[in-house]
Symmetry: C3
Subunit: 345 residues, 3 copies
Amino acid sequence: MAVLRLAEIVARLGGELRGDGALEIRQVASIEQAGPSDVTFLANPRYRAGLANTRAGAVILSAAAAADCPVASIVCDQPYLYFARLSQWLNPRERAAAQRHHSATIDSPLPASVSVGAGSVIGAGCRIGERVDIGANCSIGAGSSIGADALLHAQVTLYPGAVVGARAILHSGVVIGADGFGFAREGDGSWLKIPQIGRVIIGDDVEIGAGTTIDRGALEDTVIEDGVKLDNQIQIGHNVRIGAHSAFAGCVGVAGSARIGRRCTVGGAAVILGHLSIADDVNISAGTLVAKSIHKRGTYTATVPLLEHGEWLKNFSHLRHLEALADRIRALEVELARLAEKDKS
Amino acid sequence: MAVLRLAEIVARLGGELRGDGALEIRQVASIEQAGPSDVTFLANPRYRAGLANTRAGAVILSAAAAADCPVASIVCDQPYLYFARLSQWLNPRERAAAQRHHSATIDSPLPASVSVGAGSVIGAGCRIGERVDIGANCSIGAGSSIGADALLHAQVTLYPGAVVGARAILHSGVVIGADGFGFAREGDGSWLKIPQIGRVIIGDDVEIGAGTTIDRGALEDTVIEDGVKLDNQIQIGHNVRIGAHSAFAGCVGVAGSARIGRRCTVGGAAVILGHLSIADDVNISAGTLVAKSIHKRGTYTATVPLLEHGEWLKNFSHLRHLEALADRIRALEVELARLAEKDKS
Amino acid sequence: MAVLRLAEIVARLGGELRGDGALEIRQVASIEQAGPSDVTFLANPRYRAGLANTRAGAVILSAAAAADCPVASIVCDQPYLYFARLSQWLNPRERAAAQRHHSATIDSPLPASVSVGAGSVIGAGCRIGERVDIGANCSIGAGSSIGADALLHAQVTLYPGAVVGARAILHSGVVIGADGFGFAREGDGSWLKIPQIGRVIIGDDVEIGAGTTIDRGALEDTVIEDGVKLDNQIQIGHNVRIGAHSAFAGCVGVAGSARIGRRCTVGGAAVILGHLSIADDVNISAGTLVAKSIHKRGTYTATVPLLEHGEWLKNFSHLRHLEALADRIRALEVELARLAEKDKS
């Protein structure tokens, strides 16, 4: 594990050092758990109370908070971003040694720098970039393509023909390129499968969380642009396009043919229906169902407040009768106007 | 890849050809991307604007739209269904060559026509039908049964004793037959596991999407009837029964012992609670929570409209006070009636 | 399969036997399907109608229901708990024979009592307890720890350093220890990954359903305390803590750094947002979004009632205008008060 002096950190990452530049740092830690060889950070003012008692070696924080810091500090404009850079420096990605486990089944030529874990299966005609790291028990379908420096953790599945960009990180249980959900209905109510002949195209620097599934296109391709980050257990339907640098929290579902802009954020368990489009820089709140297109940047929400169950029963039963309540208000207005008119005369 | 002439297509699939029967067709494509050797279709009138500019070789469409078609066309009553049949013809399922990969572990006798991918494990006492195609790294528990012509993509899991019908398609990450969630609560709040001794029985012509899980029954069986189509990341609890030809979009959850009728459709991320029943031909809208039984066919919904966040805050805070609003309306009605009465006298 | 006499059952598990103690019992079954060598139970009064027609050998029930029982019965205070104990006796967990399949890749020393299925991969430096049973095609990362008598079904993934307690049951598709979803945002909207250096710590007697994912901590650990039961397709974000004996139904999502108390129950598809805390003994209804902390035990709900779609359209459109409705009520109150005042004078 790396040991860095505070002066070294500031020399490389910038910021203003307040304290002893010779102090040795070994790791990052939370403000409560940091010890003398750890750096922590203060980005959210609501954790400021923890600052007084921290035992960290140093704290990364903004100028506004620096005066209260009882230990060494690095003052900068964006403490969380600074902390991220430092943590990446202290915790570089561990690369598997370049080797192909003898139990792997490999039917494509691979660069010597590639690592393939035990039990993984790579079909014919794949193009695998330099230094790609494939974990144990993965299944890579024929004709897939994986960009340089990508990391596939154990138990990832790529269907044939999937395209994954450089530096992608795919977590366990990810499935890329399964058939989209497309059926035509017969007269008797049964379903006729539409062959799904599109692909999945995933850009560079994309991370995809455990258990997330991205379906192949029906006719055209499903596209995940550069820098998109998807958390765990997200479902992306066929023909969807997600714009660059959008980030989705866990359990989101996106139905087929939706088009989502760049730099959007989608909160956990939100649902985006099919065949609609969402502008750039839109934020969808957690748990929100998006049933129509959003043409303007901003934050959008569709959730109901939590109540104690008895309160909920009393209040939410009225939702079945809002139209009747509105009618009664209208009737009151008419009647009251009539009385008021009469009263004037 | 097959090459079909338009005359050949109409001879087999019906419809009225308008244009050159000798035109060669190689693939289906979307109305925007189709080129001269592609067929496309127009099923939804809202895409009609694309018709004028299509470069497709031919378009499958209804008589009502045919007059506007600038290229050859096939006129029929159900263009989408016709397109599905044609696409199946042009894109037949690719079968793996019948072979058992040397790295597979196979403890049951298999027909010679069966294919087993690298790393797959088939337990003892399984009954595997003719031409079953099992992808890489699947785990088939002892005593399972898989019908003829079924296709298991890579990384599918069947627990012991699962029954899967003919022509089933199971996508990667599917788990069939895990224990249902059944516990009795002890006096101290801890949980005692109820052994889950039922099975999962899946009918013929069922398709199950990536990451979908179907639990085994507690005492009786969980049953998925013929022709059911389940999209990705659906959870089906123990003892559930889903009627023939019902189709569920992604991320749906069905709690234990629910009984769902035939030909139902369930929109994405809808949730159906346990121990209730849903009639045949019911449609549940996406994102809807079904908390009680539905006895009559029709469409049912329980979602709230999306608002810009500031609008949402203003409007939805009233949900906590609907009872009070209703009380105030009642009080107004009483008071106004009193005044009106007095006014009359 | 065990054969038990009713007298034997009562001798070991208690309760009052009414009927022939020599009756032989082979299995538990539902009240409708039980035959003469099965025991069934009646715990929920709404199934009492089934009692008259049961063909079970014996019924476990409460004193209140015993008079109506047409066959032998075991009378006790908690029929469901009694039934669970009896079912465990009749259906003990089947253990795989202790063996390491030759196709498994094992880089850690294992006790002789451990079983490892075909295709499973166990990294270096793992500590695996006595009688641990690892199914087919599992991937156990380096430095993981699994307590005695734990059962991992096929296709389970542990990332490096995961800690799983004794007697845990992990179902297929479970992923423990993937990176939490942590990124700092650059000025241009792109995302910088925060290394996730915490672990996942899972206590004893925990069961985790198929496809459930539990992310490793960002800096501290994600902790699942003893006796927790998680159903299928649950997502647990980084740094979450779940108190002992809490039970979550399927499809629940818990965002990062949430702290959930002991003995809580969370209904299916509920969502708990991040950085909040929930007291002990809280019940969250299915489909509920929890967007702020809950400090008091009780049941909490945030769902909307299901309506036929036309009714829904009429009633729920008013949700966009609740503020306006409230304003109109206020205006009516003012105007009516003015009139009433005038009327008095």
